[in-house]
């Protein structure tokens, strides 16, 4: 597994701000080692339980496709949580973005893409401005957006889904394949890779961690915390917009009730991945593994036609175990 270690060879001031964060970052290692074990265990258990279907290329690609929506959203969520924030609005914003896209382009793909991603960015900006400049606690600001954006989605759509069957490009993005690999899976992997580079290899990523670790120290080191905080919600909005496009493409419609409880799935994946809810340490690799863990679990229990309560129960156990691991780690 890759090490999400920080490259600390920057200016002295920055190093001062990011050094504690770098130390925190190293503590993620144990969890990052533990999660692959969980994933492998799930793969083994799945192969034993269902010899025919589970470990086929087709099924694993289905897992990746299904995980793509939560996965893309979780990448944005990682940045938000890295600053010590939270974004409860992702599910509602996803629905609102899909509806906005559908209204912008019922016939053509380009207006749909611009509409969906643009609207998600805009709502993300509202979150960001409210939190960074309006000084509203992230939990409350995004809770307001959670309610508000769902209301917008229902109101703008008149509570009826908008059919996107004529949008060939969007449909292709949701269901098409290139060289046997679904586009949705490719987008998911690409966004994850992009997120990894942004977090671990850029000055911006270091600033995000620094602000989450110690806002005052970061400020003194010349980072502008308000800008960073605002930007992560916009970034989260961008990811939600991309996810809205992927989901709408697969669904063939823009549904105002889509994305229900998506925020909890995304937060759960980020947290079991090892990103600290307190901020200051974050791992995209962990988030990816977290998303895959839940994806495999859903897929396997569903393949075996297990009752839904068992899915929820196992999800709870995994979250609790990961949290316990995080605690001991500290």
């Amino acid at each position: 597994m890759s090490t999400d270690a920080l490259d600390t060879s920057e200016t002295a001031a920055e190093t001062a701000a990011t050094a504690p964060a770098a130390r925190a970052q190293r503590r993620i290692q144990l969890q990052e080692a533990a999660l692959p074990v969980v994933v492998v265990a799930l793969l083994v258990a799945g192969t034993i339980a269902d010899r025919e279907q589970f470990l086929t290329r087709d099924n694993l690609l289905t897992v990746l496709t299904q995980a793509s929506v939560t996965g893309v959203v979780a990448v944005g969520m990682t940045f938000v949580i890295a600053t010590g924030g939270i974004d409860l609005s992702v599910g509602s914003v996803l629905a609102a973005a899909a509806v906005a896209g559908g209204l912008a382009g019922e016939q053509q793909s380009l207006p749909f893409l611009l509409g969906a991603i643009g609207f998600a960015l805009l709502l993300g900006l509202v979150n960001g401005v409210a939190i960074a400049y309006g000084r509203i606690v992230p939990f409350i600001a995004t809770l307001a957006m959670f309610a508000g954006a769902r209301g917008l989605a229902l109101w703008m759509s008149d509570k009826t889904p908008i059919s996107l069957l004529q949008l060939d490009f969007v449909r292709e993005l949701g269901r098409g394949r290139v060289a046997g690999i679904p586009y949705a899976a490719l987008v998911f992997v690409a966004v994850t890779a992009g997120g990894w580079v942004l977090l671990n290899r850029t000055r911006y990523g270091r600033h995000v961690i620094a602000v989450g670790g110690n806002r005052e120290a970061a400020r003194m080191a010349g980072v502008r915390p308000q800008r960073i905080v605002c930007s992560v919600y916009v970034l989260s909005g961008l990811c939600v917009g991309i996810a809205a496009v992927l989901l709408s493409g697969r669904l063939g419609s823009a549904s105002p009730v889509a994305g229900n409880l998506l925020e909890l799935d995304a937060i759960a994946a980020v947290v079991i991945g090892g990103t600290s809810l307190a901020g200051g340490r974050a791992t995209i690799t962990g988030t990816f593994l977290g998303v895959i863990t839940f994806g495999l679990l859903f897929n396997l229990l569903n393949l075996l036609d297990m009752p839904t309560e068992l899915q929820q129960l196992s999800k709870g156990v995994i979250i609790l175990a990961a949290a316990a691991l995080q605690r001991r780690d500290r």
Binding site: T62, Q66, V126, G134, A144, K159, I162, L247, S255, D305
Partner: protein, 347 residues
């Protein structure tokens, strides 16, 4: 140039843009506050006209999906047809306690009849009883109160009957042979349990072991959940003859999953409820072959019934001079053969 829904998008964009601009112009100072762009109410409280008329008050859960939206709309439209009806509506919430206070508020307006679709039957029963004691006749719509004395008349659909109708239809279509997948609604509520039980019981009676229910998963009445669940089931089951879904809206996600996998010729699918989109698909023929009515027109009927009760009249077609105490709608099977009769009722 733009349709009504697009106008709403434009309105939202304008408000948000103004709000963000206002906040950001304050840049690094503390004074900026969030814009009011986030909340937007639908229609507010109902119409209040004057005159000596029949006042019908209406309370239902928040209209967060197609069926409930249609329930509220149909009731409003039906009431508007009568000159002598004054209709009082409070936009609902999905919280029983909030609905209780809403009903109390409506009772304070001293209506001649009260139509209630409770979010949950049990918690709303006491307040309905109280209304009945005060002499306000309560028309219980769809989800039932826990005691008969809490309503003057109950009117609703037949959830168990949907399962029965679906089983009859699929048994005939499949000649009692084949694999059926069941995509359920929200786990743990009576609607889901009854739709499931009606289906399982009837399939068993009709076909014994001939028809196997090979997979049974809830998708919470949500299209995106239906899509995900069905994608996996398609992986697991190489041979599916029919899919029985508990809801038309949710079924659209299931349909997408099947079409995305290119397996639409392998199986048939049935919905439930009677949405317009579902009926249009049934009309076209193909994968979506039937739905079973659980029609939100029942709220329009409830308004009519409320009016009759307030007037102290009965149905002309019945010998009795007053309205019956229970009216259960039929889970009519809608297929390509009869869809033209029902498509106008689609929501």
């Amino acid at each position: 140039m733009f349709n009504a829904r697009q106008h709403r998008l434009i309105a939202v964009l304008a408000v948000v843009a103004l709000g963000v601009a206002a906040c950001e112009s304050g840049d690094d100072d503390d004074s900026a506050s969030d814009s009011g762009s986030e909340d937007e109410s639908g229609s507010g409280s109902g119409t209040v006209e004057e005159g000596e008329t029949i006042k019908i008050a209406f309370s239902a859960p928040g209209a967060d999906h197609g069926w409930l939206a249609a329930i509220t709309e149909n009731a409003e439209e039906e009431a508007a047809k009568y000159d002598d009806v004054e209709f009082v509506l409070l936009e609902g919430t999905n919280d029983s306690a909030a609905q209780v206070s809403q009903v109390e508020q409506l009772m304070a307006e001293d209506p001649d009849a009260l139509v209630i679709l409770p979010h949950e039957g049990g918690p709303l029963t006491p307040v309905a009883l109280e209304a009945m004691e005060q002499g306000i006749p309560v028309i219980n719509l769809d989800r039932e109160f826990s005691t008969k004395s809490a309503y003057r008349t109950w009117i609703g659909g037949d959830n168990y009957g949907i399962g029965v109708s679906a089983a009859n239809y699929l048994a005939e279509q499949l000649d009692c042979q084949g694999n059926v997948v069941e995509i359920q609604g929200l786990a743990g509520i009576s609607v889901t349990e009854q739709r499931s039980a009606g289906f399982a019981d009837t399939i068993e009676q009709l076909c014994g072991d001939g028809i196997q229910i090979v997979a049974q998963q809830p998708a919470d009445f949500l299209p995106d959940k239906g899509l995900e669940v069905m994608e996996t089931i398609l992986q697991a089951e190489p041979d599916i003859d029919a899919v029985y879904t508990h809801d038309d809206d949710m079924a659209m996600g299931v349909v997408s999953a099947i079409e995305n996998a290119g397996r639409e010729d392998e199986m048939i699918l049935t919905g439930a409820g009677g949405s317009r989109e579902a009926m249009e698909r049934i009309e076209q023929g193909g994968l979506y072959s039937a739905t079973f009515l659980y029609n939100p027109s029942m709220s329009a009927s409830a308004v009519r019934v409320a009016r009759l009760i307030a007037l102290g009249e009965g149905f002309e077609e019945l010998a009795e001079p007053e309205v019956p105490s229970r009216i259960e709608l039929t889970a009519t099977t809608v297929t390509q053969d009869n869809v033209d009769q029902f498509i106008d009722l689609g929501f």
